[in-house]
Symmetry: C2
Subunit: 206 residues, 2 copies
């Protein structure tokens, strides 16, 4: 199980630890993740990790940051394949992309949206990645308001409202607080729950 290295020097230990951490979080969840196991996986003493990461949290923050960048990219791509100006459709796709991202790697999702790793501002690039993700949602709302399909409101408020609902839904489904029997059903039920919010977000029909 444990890979051993005969060479003294490691190729790129920080990168290797990051990759191991991502894998182990996916395997055991953020709670079950262990710095020592990551080091073992890479074939290095656990003390070695401290040369490259200040502590366990710093390593998790790196994994978390990668997650946010991936999510931002996913959200930006949600409406690229079949562009449309219909705000409701665009937002539905955004929501679907978000929930699919969560379902694809639940532990990573929980790492990203669970206890803040950065409450003390130690990892500025993590906050930057989070902001990038939110920005993708805000951009969508601005687009919807520009084409006149969304109600007059601050785009950031609509974005946060959407974000709140969709993050809440993903969380409830992953934790099986909302019971769905399959991924397909998870997506279908998302549509149903989202419907009232979407209606309320749209400009009154003239």
């Amino acid at each position: 199980m444990t890979r051993r290295r005969s060479t003294y020097h490691h190729g790129d230990l920080p990168r290797a630890l990051r990759a191991a951490a991502r894998r182990l979080v996916a395997e055991h969840g953020p709670e079950g993740f262990t710095l020592r196991e990551a080091a073992r996986d890479v074939g290095v003493s656990h003390a070695a990790a401290y040369r490259h990461f200040a502590d366990k949290r710093a390593l998790l923050a790196a994994v978390c940051e990668d997650g946010y960048r991936a999510l931002a990219a996913t959200l930006r791509a949600a409406n690229r394949r079949r562009p449309t100006d219909d705000a409701a459709t665009r937002i539905r796709r955004l929501a679907a992309a978000f929930v699919r991202f969560a379902l694809d790697d639940p532990p990573r999702f929980h790492l990203m949206f669970g206890p803040r790793l950065n409450l003390d501002g130690r990892f500025p690039s993590l906050d930057a990645a989070t902001d990038e993700t939110l920005a993708a949602v805000v951009a969508e709302m601005e687009h919807g308001m520009a084409t006149g399909r969304l109600r007059a409101a601050r785009p950031v408020d609509l974005a946060i409202g959407f974000w709140t609902m969709v993050q809440g839904y993903a969380d409830m489904v992953l934790r099986r607080r909302i019971k769905v029997r399959s991924r397909t059903m998870a997506m279908a039920y998302l549509e149903r729950l989202l419907a009232p919010l979407l209606d309320g977000m749209q400009a009154p029909r003239r």
Copy 2:
């Protein structure tokens, strides 16, 4: 710091451990909670706890269950003081009560809505308490539909949609993912985010 007992027998150790656990979760959060510290607080060896709780999770489940019962009571009381039949008002109050509950004891809220303690169904009474809480929200939706103010939908779907949004909001605020400078602002912003959902939940005006 550590209370010591000279008597061999303890009055009601299970109850004392539960109380200590609730206090310690509030102090250090669910992550920082330790079975050993709870035992120390009560003045008993840590092994003694295993006479009354199968493991650490069982003790946390007890605290969690108390939390759900308290939340259910809070939600049921939300519209008792100034009864009304206006569905939007009632639901806004429900949301406010929920978020206030979260703000009053963030660690307990995270214990309740974080990693499921009962994924394997070991604690049936915990699930019962959760159901009781959801039932309070469903009852509210049924009331709103009976008086004709809510759109035609399955009450449980409206309830879960509401629940999802409000739980998501509380979580984002507690984790400072949504930045508000005070409790008052947290409540005000809740109203703002809820507005589109509430609009969408209401029956079209005739």
